[in-house]
Structure formats: structure tokens, C-alpha cells
Symmetry: C2
Subunit: 456 residues, 2 copies
């Protein structure tokens, strides 16, 4: 290739990201912290293929999400495979595949990379990492509580407080009860109620009102849906309706929401949780409790993450009925939230060279000796960098110093001949020559001294 | 969706894999061990997007690899994006993008999922995880040695020995020197020499001979290439040629190979390494030393992994010349190799419940108390499972026992009333009731006792 040839762009594709080492350190730090929380609840990791037949998404997700907003591949036989926009359908397939041998309840988590083909915006990229946790085969509302607690503990483990975020919950069954018993909306229009409500926090009031009118016409229904958006809490919502039939109070939805409210209060997490009748979530497969976690400040308007209960997820693959509840958390949205409140320490992105031993050697004749010493050091599990320039000790030391290394070994013909090592404390610039088999001991000594200095 | 509706397949797509928790535990165990090795050499992790413009692969990889054997997506504007078959072009782009600020030498590793669209076979799937490590901006042959040492230490860290695997190295520059000075092959046919040699270990002798004849016709060249396949070592190879001109011995390629042989010997890794004149690697971008690591047994015929030096990788993105050497290791091939020699302990795939505390509660009235106790236990970083069935103590205990839990807490109205906890040692079936704030202390006691038992 000629040098005068046109060069390709050095930038990643739109909506995608290069992760340089400092980015990966931050990412891994966040992920490990989340992983620690779910491991304390004894969740186990799983993962499925990135590619799945597009039909299993088209059947259960919103169609818009699938054909308009997804990447897909056509194979040589014309079959279409989606690059997963989320992992829940894969989870359902995997559970159905081994349902007989899997012991329920199943507590699983996954950290898939997912894809959506839409205009990138703040907190939303076309390629994104999503942390998922689900509990399946557990119908008790205490499963909801467990998922809420995990969601909250993930955020508080980073130092976030109830002043900074709030978990808003609702139940689709509650919306069903309102729709059916109070607003008298025919059952076949329930999906439209969900769809409309899901837009409520994405539009301002006049815009939303127009959208509700266009969707429902009927004045009583329109007013009812606007009440669902406006209500501050369950009491406030119910006060807004003139007459509420007994069937509503007997409904599964009403009882689920009140019972969940009680459980939340008794478990001591009510500071973090609020009922919100406008939360429904965008995905089609939710059937029961749904929730979204929001930044309470103005900085991040979209939900940080959310989830809910699905009662019928396996139906695409199996006749078995397994209910589950889980959440999907975009790691990017989480990190934006954490950065808003300065909850990611600055040093996380920096490589820590404080336990790295740097080896400078005066000429190539000592290369073997250098490698032998490096092996001894790595055997002791200290990371070790050999400078292969084998000349200009000054420039090697300045490189070590620039990196922030604390201990450098200097090796020359004299050291090699006498089986010695010159050890330099980069903080004090003190040097001493020692027998090579004392090198580990001396390194520990320097590290101990430095630690003592820091403690004082 | 009706229950009598046709169900979708529960299997993953051809050539792709579901990772159940036991698979992930094994995978993570392998990856962490590799990561530990490269971290001891102070390599830093990076990652780029899965999707890249297809041109950057078509320009530097074999074209077959790109259009025939890759998955690609066409966007709404008709641009083609590849699902990366390997990450090296992304690495080149990322280095070019920040070349000014990145301090050389650059030691980086990545663990990308990669894709190829070809018939799956043993050790090769369409979706695969590949561990990569590269050192860039270091021209010294000691960079080759470092990469060889890392490659070997990865395998030996799992317990593999020089009897079980061997690293075969060569240099494309050495093949150039043979071709030019001995076989008198015109320079423009060098890529054909690489292509032919790369097939040498994938065909039997007669098949390979026919392939060489079809490719080169000229009898002297054909015989020369067959010698490259047959030679046992460098000495043996050179003996096979009648007259070797002085220019050959002066060539970069010859000197590189002999010098590398010396370095390998002096570094004490010659048990693990052999020169092999038939190794060239399949990718177009290699220019210098190349190597492949093979199982020495008959079980795994393909290379476990390999790598090499590329001198001109950034040229697609930049005029800067940066040389590098690195390897890509399919984690599946590695695990097949390890399994051949029983180097993956059986227990790795099993979930370890030995530090998990199981909480059984007699009825739902104590649910809050249960959650309070679970919080105390998780606070101490013990994983904790609550059984939400709240009935049939017997079935809860049998579930705990089935999982292999060592300590179960039993909570009922009496315990709650008296702020107590009944603690059951699942090994001895001994129970005792204690004050709830002694629970952590008592758990530690049981774990200590069990440890003592194991030690004796």
C-alpha cells in the first residue's frame, strides 16, 4: 500500500465507541461492583449468542424496535438474524431448552453487548453494554422486592442516595384495572393505553394531551389517562376519580400495588421507592409490576434503567408457564448518572504502576540476565516491564519515572558478573546493589517503607 | 399467543453457543488465568466496536476471509459493516487515532467476541471469543521473545508441559530470503508462496505436492517448497539445498531466524519452541516472525493459536510506521486443548454454595424479619438466598441441602418475637437458637469448624 493512498477514518462508526485502557478500567470497575451485588444474592452468570432469528424478537417486542431500530443480517438462504437489542428472548429460549433440569427459582444475570439502529443521543449508543438480572419461577411479590433491593443496592453501593435517584413502580395489572373498571376501556385497547402512557415522560404536558386525545377521542378516557400521568401517589390518584366501583378494589392489579407498597415499607426501602401510575415500560412482554429508576435531578431526564414482571415469556418456545421479573441496565446510562454526582473516583481510569517493577539494562549483553530477573519477579506476582532499548540508562529511568513506577532495577555487565541487582527506589532516588536472590525481599522492604510513609 | 401455536426452536443458531452458568464459570476461569499472565507483563485491556467498515478488513486481510467468510450488515445508505472476524484492524485504527498521546511501546490485550460465516468444525464456531495481546512500537526481537514467553506461560499456567504442546516459529522474511536467493522466485509471487505454505499442514503429502505443482509448475521451485514443509529444523533445511548463495546468509530473514533461535535458547524456553519453515500464518498483514502453537498429540490437529509481527499495520489510517507483534487465541480451541489433557478441574463448572447462607422461614408473617437478617448477612459479604415459599420447612431444608448449602437459618414467629435466629449446620444437622446479632459470629464458627474437619 502506497503512503499517498487515501486513508480510512480513524473514528469508530457513529453510535459506537472505542474503549481505550482508561475506559475499560472504568467500565470493569463499574461492572465488577454490580456483579458483586448480584453475587451476594446468589445470581449466576449466563450468556447467549449475539445473533438470534429475528422472529423471536418480532413476536414479543414492539415491531418498531425490531425492523426499524435493529441491525439484522440476511444469510445465504435469506433467513434474517437480529443483532440482539436486548437479551430477554434469548434468556427465554435458554430456559425453555433446559427447563427440565434447571432448578427453580432461577436467579441469573448477564452482561451482553446489545445493538440498536437508531439516532444516537445522550446515554444511548448503537452499541451498548447492558447488565441484566432476572429471577424466574418465583411468583411471590417478594421476588419484586428482591429485584428492587438489588436495583437500589447497585446504586447505593456507588454512594448514590435517595436524594439522587428514585425507583418508580407501577403494575400493568393496575393499569388494566383502572382501564377496565374505572375508564371502561375495552380490553383490546389495553396495548394502546400502555403505548400512550409510555410516552408520558417523553413529552411535555400540552404535547402529551394532544397525543392522548388523538389516541382515544373519548373525553372521559382522555381525562383519566391524564390523571394517571399527573397523580403524585396512589391516594392522590384514586381521589381524582369520582366513583370507583367495588370491582376495582377487588382486582388483582389494585391489590398487587397496595401489597407491594406495604412490602416496600416494611423492608425499609420506601425512601428509595415511589408509586407512579404513568410507568408502564416500552416492551410488549411485561404483564405485572414494572419499574424505572430515575435521576431526581435535571441532568439525566431518561430513566437510568428499569424492568418488570413477565408471566408468559417462554410461550414462544414451550407450553410451560414460567413467570419472572428482571431488569436491564445500560452501563453507559449508569455511568452518566454516577458522573453527574461525582461517584466515579478519578483514579479509576488511571493505570496503577505502583506495584510494577521496571527493569532497565545498560546493554543488550545482559538481556538474558534481565529476563531471568524478570521471571523471578513475576513468579512472585509483581508485574514487570523490561525496557528493550538496552541503552541510555537516563532515558530508561525517566520513562520509569514518567509511568509512576516506584521500583526500578538496573542491570549491567557488572551486576550480571556478580549475580547482583541494582535496586532504585524511585521516590527517594536511593540505589543499592544486592545479591539477585535478595531482590524480592528488598522490593517488599521498599513497598513497606512507602506504605509506612503514606500512613504517617 | 395461543398455546397451540407453532413453537420456535430452542437451539441457538448453527455455529453459535448458549453459555449456561456452568459454561460461563469455566470460561471466566480460563479468561482470568490468561488475564493474570498478561497483567504480569503489564499489558492493558482495550476493546473496540464489533462493527467496522468492511473496507478496512478487505484491504489488509485475505479477501476470502472478508466477503465469503464474514457476516456483514448493509445500512440504510448501502454502506457495508463487518462483524469483526478479528480485532487487529480495530487495534490499528485505535492506535492511529491517538498515536500522539499513546506512549510506546504499547502493551495491550483484548477479549473480543468475533464472527466468521463458515462451516463450523471442531474448535471453530461462527461466534467465538478470542484473546489478543500485542506489543506495538517495539522493534527489538526481544518483543518476539516476550510474546513467545507469554504464549508459553499461558499454557504452562494451566499445567501443560513441553510434551503436550510446542510453539513453531518462522519468519516471513526468512521465507522471502529462501524464495529470492535460493529458489529465485520473483518478488510478486511471494504472496503465493505464503498462501501455498499456509496450506501445508492442512493437506496430506500427495495432496500438498499436487497443490504446489499446480501453483508453481517449475520443478526446482516445487522441490524447494516441499523441502520447506519437510525440514525438521534450520540445519536440516539448509542441508537440503545444494548451493546457497552468500546473499542468503547476509539476508535480514536468515539473520532474524538465527538470532531469534539464540535468544530463545538463552532465555531457557527452547524446550517449548521449534523452528518450522512451513509456518507462515494465513493473514496478509504479517511481515516478520510468525508462529503457531500446536498440540503435540493427535487429538487436536489445528493450531491452538498463533501470531506474528506486522510492520505496516497503521498504513490504512496513518503515514506513521509502527511495528508490532501479537497473537490471537481462540478460547474454545484453548479449552479443547486443556480438556484433552484434563487440565480443567471438574469443580470449575459447578456453582460453589459453600459460603451461601440459605434462609428458610416458616410463614409469610416473618418475611420482614427474614429480609432484615438477610441484609445483615450480605452486609458481611456472605451470599444469601431467601426461600420465598414461606411454608413446609422440610421442603425448604431439602432444597438447601440439594444445593449443597452448609448453613441454613430457620426463622419463625418465635424467633422473630425473641429477636433470635435458629441456625442449622447442614453437615451435622445440629441446630441452635441464638440472638440475631450473634448470627455472623456463629456462621464464622461453623465455617471454621468445617475447615478444621477438612484439614484433618
Amino acid at each position: 500500500m502506497k503512503d499517498n493512498q487515501k486513508k480510512f477514518s480513524r473514528l469508530p462508526l457513529k453510535g459506537m465507541e472505542d474503549f481505550y485502557p482508561s475506559d475499560i478500567r472504568e467500565l470493569n470497575w463499574i461492572i465488577e461492583q454490580i456483579r458483586d451485588i448480584v453475587e451476594l444474592y446468589s445470581y449466576e452468570e449466563y450468556l447467549g449468542p449475539l445473533l438470534e432469528p429475528i422472529e423471536i424478537y418480532a413476536a414479543k417486542s414492539s415491531e418498531e424496535l425490531v425492523y426499524e431500530q435493529s441491525y439484522y443480517i440476511e444469510d445465504k438462504k435469506g433467513r434474517k438474524f437480529i443483532l440482539r437489542p436486548e437479551i430477554t428472548p434469548t434468556l427465554a429460549r435458554m430456559i425453555a431448552r433446559k427447563s427440565q433440569e434447571l432448578k427453580k427459582p432461577i436467579r441469573w444475570y448477564a452482561i451482553p453487548t446489545c445493538y440498536r439502529y437508531e439516532a444516537p443521543q445522550k446515554g444511548r449508543r448503537r452499541e451498548f453494554l447492558q447488565f441484566n438480572a432476572d429471577i424466574l419461577g418465583e411468583d411471590s411479590l417478594y421476588a419484586e422486592l428482591e429485584i428492587f433491593k438489588i436495583s437500589i443496592e447497585i446504586l447505593t453501593s456507588f454512594g448514590a442516595t435517595a436524594e439522587q435517584f428514585q425507583l418508580y413502580y407501577n403494575s400493568r395489572r393496575f393499569i388494566d384495572a383502572i382501564s377496565k373498571h374505572i375508564l371502561k376501556i375495552p380490553e383490546n385497547r389495553l396495548p394502546l393505553v400502555y403505548k400512550v402512557l409510555d410516552k408520558s415522560d417523553k413529552m411535555d404536558d400540552p404535547e402529551f394531551e394532544k397525543y392522548v386525545i388523538d389516541s382515544f377521542q373519548d373525553e372521559y378516557i382522555v381525562q383519566g389517562i391524564l390523571k394517571l400521568k399527573e397523580a403524585k401517589n396512589l391516594e392522590d390518584l384514586l381521589k381524582k376519580f369520582d366513583k370507583i366501583p367495588k370491582e376495582f378494589y377487588d382486582s388483582e392489579g389494585y391489590n398487587e400495588i397496595t401489597e407491594l407498597g406495604d412490602i416496600i415499607k416494611e423492608a425499609g426501602i420506601s425512601d428509595y421507592c415511589s408509586f407512579s401510575s404513568s410507568i408502564v415500560r416500552g416492551l410488549d412482554y411485561y404483564t405485572g409490576v414494572v419499574y424505572e429508576v430515575f435521576d431526581t435531578g435535571k441532568e439525566n431526564i431518561r430513566a437510568i434503567f428499569g424492568g418488570g414482571r413477565y408471566d408468559d415469556l417462554l410461550s414462544l418456545f414451550s407450553d410451560e408457564r414460567v413467570s419472572g421479573i428482571g431488569f436491564g441496565m445500560g452501563v453507559l446510562m449508569l455511568s452518566l448518572f454516577l458522573k453527574t454526582y461525582n461517584l466515579i473516583p478519578d483514579f479509576i481510569g488511571e493505570k496503577d504502576y505502583s506495584d510494577v517493577i521496571y527493569i532497565a539494562s545498560i546493554n543488550e549483553k545482559v538481556a538474558n540476565y534481565t529476563i531471568k530477573i524478570a521471571d523471578i519477579i513475576r513468579e512472585e506476582e509483581f508485574p514487570c516491564i523490561i525496557d528493550y532499548r538496552f541503552k541510555s540508562l537516563k532515558s530508561q529511568l525517566s520513562k520509569a519515572s514518567e509511568l509512576g513506577v516506584l521500583v526500578t532495577l538496573i542491570l549491567g555487565p557488572k551486576e550480571m558478573e556478580q549475580n547482583q541487582v541494582t535496586l532504585r527506589n524511585m521516590t527517594t532516588n536511593e540505589q543499592k546493589s544486592i545479591d539477585y536472590n535478595e531482590v524480592i525481599e528488598e522490593i517488599y522492604k521498599i513497598f513497606d517503607e512507602l506504605e509506612d510513609l503514606e500512613d504517617n
